[in-house]
């Protein structure tokens, strides 16, 4: 008997429940079911991804030629400002929250999130904030100071739009904080009896690290933006040098959030990759604890590297050295993850389906972003390439080659669970191939452009850079085209795709131990851990399911106080007797 069969046998009651099919109206209402909210997040953010993508292609169209000839320079600045803001605050950050919403309660065997209404509130702040942001494009005075919005520039151009931009980002930040509280409480307090921290799937560890980071850093951005709003609206001079304010202080406050934001955007997808690779390699994850703790290490280190965005602005020499060293050290936990994923694949039986291909592309492409990140950490080299296309290349390798490929890997992996139907494999592979080609064509030449002397955020550039820019632009068009097979595939498969069954990948984590789509309240009885989340190939059940970890802090027993029926007898004990 394989491990998947063992786990399914132990959880057979849940697998015969009725799939929780919902009325379409539920998805447009203030619903408190975490699965509905998860889908609401994912669909909404994907729509914003398409809008942000259109903006990106407009930016690339302008840059196809060295002259400023496609849109006005003012509009060009607004386009890249909104492109960045949408992609960060309305796509990658909330998409991570969307997967966390759908998956966390299922993975830990809970019936819902700890605070279901708060969860719905967090989601319903996103559509109005997004519409607000996009409306700033049409008020005639659109924000055009970049997503970093550095004063004094942000105080003197596009003022109306800037005000709207601040309002919108504040709302999105609040939504993110509410989500993070929910994830933390759910993970700490609602794990099924028998699941200690060390029996949690790695996606849960990743969300633990991410949520802690959101809680610590986002309020600082909010404070910075509120002060900026005062400068803008009330004429105070916190950051305005003409009144004695200090623009560099804003940069500190901004980056204290916005560097951790990079980890907020990538850590959830490190978690996703740690789920997808072992399932499709049919092997246990290599170095479970190393991967789990490296997420925490990244989360902590991520808080003390922010000033590496300011090596050319206003910090003293020895502080530059401090931030250089902390930044370099982040490469170590990140490297641990990459090598562990390679170790997981080595000697496995790899199913090269769309989810796995996206995950492998993630590993292969992210490593480029990681390497250029170490280069950027070196102060003397950063002084040369700061604010150039080298940085643009680096950040897109991390956020597109990392986060976005991670999102697609997650969609192909969990689509059967979310919808109960399989995606078309052929079109999935077409999507993966086009995305891979498009992304490398768009972003690889940018490294050279930056080093040779092309600065970022410009509408006109030196004609000697035309050829490489044309390649980038055509790559961006390929990326646009690559989205269509996916959209059609997703919509068609959702309606007419073949039924998925409960556990099409033969996975071991608890979200697969229920029907597809899961029943309204997930598990009627708390699920049982007959086997660890990654025990592929063991071919035996655990001798006893530990009720709680020997370490009381890590254990999950009666402290699962927020569960629906905390006094229920422990199912883990039942499982032990069945042995």
């Amino acid at each position: 008997m394989t491990q998947a069969q063992l786990q399914e046998k132990a959880n057979s009651p849940a697998l015969i429940e009725e799939p929780g099919l919902r009325n379409w109206r539920d998805y447009f209402s203030f619903n408190t079911d975490h699965k509905v909210i998860g889908i609401q997040y994912l669909v909404t953010t994907f729509i914003f991804y398409c809008i942000g993508g259109v903006l990106a292609d407009l930016v690339r169209t302008e840059l196809r030629t060295p002259e400023s000839d496609f849109v006005s320079p003012e509009l060009y600045n607004s386009l890249f400002t909104l492109h960045a803001t949408i992609m960060i605050f309305l796509w990658i950050v909330p998409a991570g929250a969307g997967f966390a919403n759908f998956l966390l309660p299922l993975m830990i065997g809970a019936k819902d999130m700890a605070f279901p209404r708060l969860n719905a509130v967090a989601f319903w702040m996103i559509p109005p904030a997004g519409l607000l942001l996009i409306s700033s494009l049409v008020v005639g005075d659109a924000p055009d100071a970049g997503w970093t919005s550095y004063p004094p520039l942000s105080l003197v151009t596009g003022q109306v739009g800037e005000g709207i931009w601040i309002m919108s980002v504040l709302l999105l930040g609040t939504s993110s904080i509410l989500g993070a509280i929910n994830f933390l409480v759910t993970l700490i307090k609602m794990r099924t009896p028998g699941m200690g921290f060390h029996q949690m799937p790695l996606f849960c560890w990743a969300m633990l690290a991410t949520s802690a980071l959101v809680l610590v850093s986002t309020p600082v951005l909010a404070a910075g933006l509120i002060l900026l709003a005062f400068d803008l609206i009330a004429g105070t001079t916190f950051f305005n040098p003409t009144g004695g304010g200090d623009p560099v202080v804003y940069q500190h406050m901004f980056w204290f959030y916005s560097h951790p934001a990079v980890y907020i955007m990538i850590l959830p997808f490190f978690g996703v990759i740690s789920e997808v690779i072992p399932v499709h390699s049919r092997k246990p994850i290599f170095g479970y604890k190393a991967i789990a703790y490296s997420s925490l290490a990244i989360s902590f280190l991520g808080l003390i590297v922010w000033a590496h965005h300011m090596f050319t602005s206003g910090i003293p020499g020895w502080l530059r050295m401090f931030f250089m060293i902390t930044t370099m050290i982040i490469a170590v936990p990140t490297g641990i993850k990459i090598f562990s994923w390679l170790g997981t694949m080595w000697g496995g039986k790899i199913r090269l389906n769309s989810a796995m291909l996206f995950a492998m592309s993630f590993v292969g492409v992210f490593v480029i972003g990681g390497i250029s990140g170490v280069m950027l950490a070196a102060v003397p080299f950063d002084i040369h390439v700061h604010d150039t296309y080298f940085v643009v290349a680096h950040l897109h390798y991390v956020l597109f080659g990392g986060s976005v490929l991670g999102i697609f890997a997650a969609i192909y992996h969990w689509f059967p669970k979310i919808t109960g139907r399989m995606l078309n494999e052929f079109w999935g592979q077409v999507h993966c191939a086009l995305t891979f080609i498009g992304l490398n064509m768009t972003f690889l030449p940018m490294h050279k452009l930056g080093m040779m002397g092309m600065n970022r955020r410009i509408a006109q550039y030196d004609p000697k850079f035309t050829f490489l820019n044309e390649i980038c632009t055509y790559g961006a068009y390929i990326l646009a085209v690559s989205t269509f097979p996916f959209i059609i595939n997703a919509i068609w498969s959702w309606m007419y795709g073949p039924k998925a069954g409960n556990n099409p990948w033969q996975a071991l984590t608890l979200e697969w131990m229920t029907t597809s789509p899961p029943a309204i309240e997930n598990f009627d009885k708390p699920p049982v851990l007959a086997t660890g989340p990654y025990d592929y190939g063991l071919e035996r059940a655990r001798e006893s399911v530990p009720l709680s970890d020997p370490d009381p802090v890590l254990s999950a027993d009666t402290n699962s106080v927020l569960r629906a029926k905390p006094d229920e007898p422990y199912p883990a004990i039942v499982a032990e007797k069945e042995q």
Partner: protein, 360 residues
Amino acid sequence: MKIPSSIWTLLIGILLTLVSLWYGQNHGLLPTAASDEATLVDGLFNAMMTVSIGIFLLVEGILIYSAFKYRRRAGDNADGLPVHGNVPLEILWTAVPAIIVIGISIYSFDVYNEMGGFDPHAMHSSPATPQAMKMPGTAIAATLNDTPLTTEPNLNQEKSDEAMQDPATAAVRNADQIPQKQNAPGVGIVSPTLGSTPENQGKAPNLVVNVTALQYAWIFTYPDTGVTSGELHVPIGHEVEMNMTANDVIHAFWVPEFRLKQDVIPGRQTEISFTPSKAGEYTLICAELCGPYHGAMRTQVVVETQDAFDQWIKEQLVASTEDLKQAVAANPAELSPSEFLAHYTTEMGIHPEILHQIHK
């Protein structure tokens, strides 16, 4: 005959090393190096590139090899080997990257020092004193807090006043309208600098240029001679010091061939020193978003022999004396900034409309 896997590993390792070493020196990704600092930065980059290519090829190689060698064969539904980890291997791949990044950090530290990043004689950076280092949070406070912590002189203000002594600089700067940042004790730095290289520290620089940035132009004033220019001329082989500030928003001074960049911030005096090493004409680029015409904010940098430089200064002096004769009738204090700047900016080819927009 079957070749043992240890031989294969060795051969692949040697090949990987050779390819990395070759590519690290022959990547062709950087423009000409035209300053002493650029040569240092390029050495650092080549070293990083060598290591990077090795890591890149290793990871991609394993990934592609696994995809072929370990792909699931049709009909095989069994699981793989239950390997949960390997502690020595995990220690190895934690330790090796740690050693690599520490090595790169030390190399970067050295290059940064060679470039003058720790120059104690640079105008603002009185080095962190032992007492100051003991005070918790002093260093961060110095960058975050603008309340004067002591009655020490405001070096930033002094630097600004010194530059404003030069009439040509005073004519293009609005330092009187922007309060200058106050320094904190001990740390003393509100403005980052790249000072003199270690061998030049303590000596007076060969040439001082005051740089003023405004939307969307660079203005260079030479206080020794009173020359004002829209393009930067520097003699080859001698250290030059740029004293920079901005009149409106943040700009950044960047010459790719010098590998040097420094933000130019209103209310702060930033400083950068370098030694041009190769004659030629390069482009000075504003690297910090400063408005819609940011992409057009660029000018020429001319690195030339001392003789050619002296000749150029002489020509500029003749030109500016003529300007002064014309300007003598009007009192600069009574003119609006755009009127005052008009003849400088037309010389530099800036549209009067843009200027009007800035000052409206």
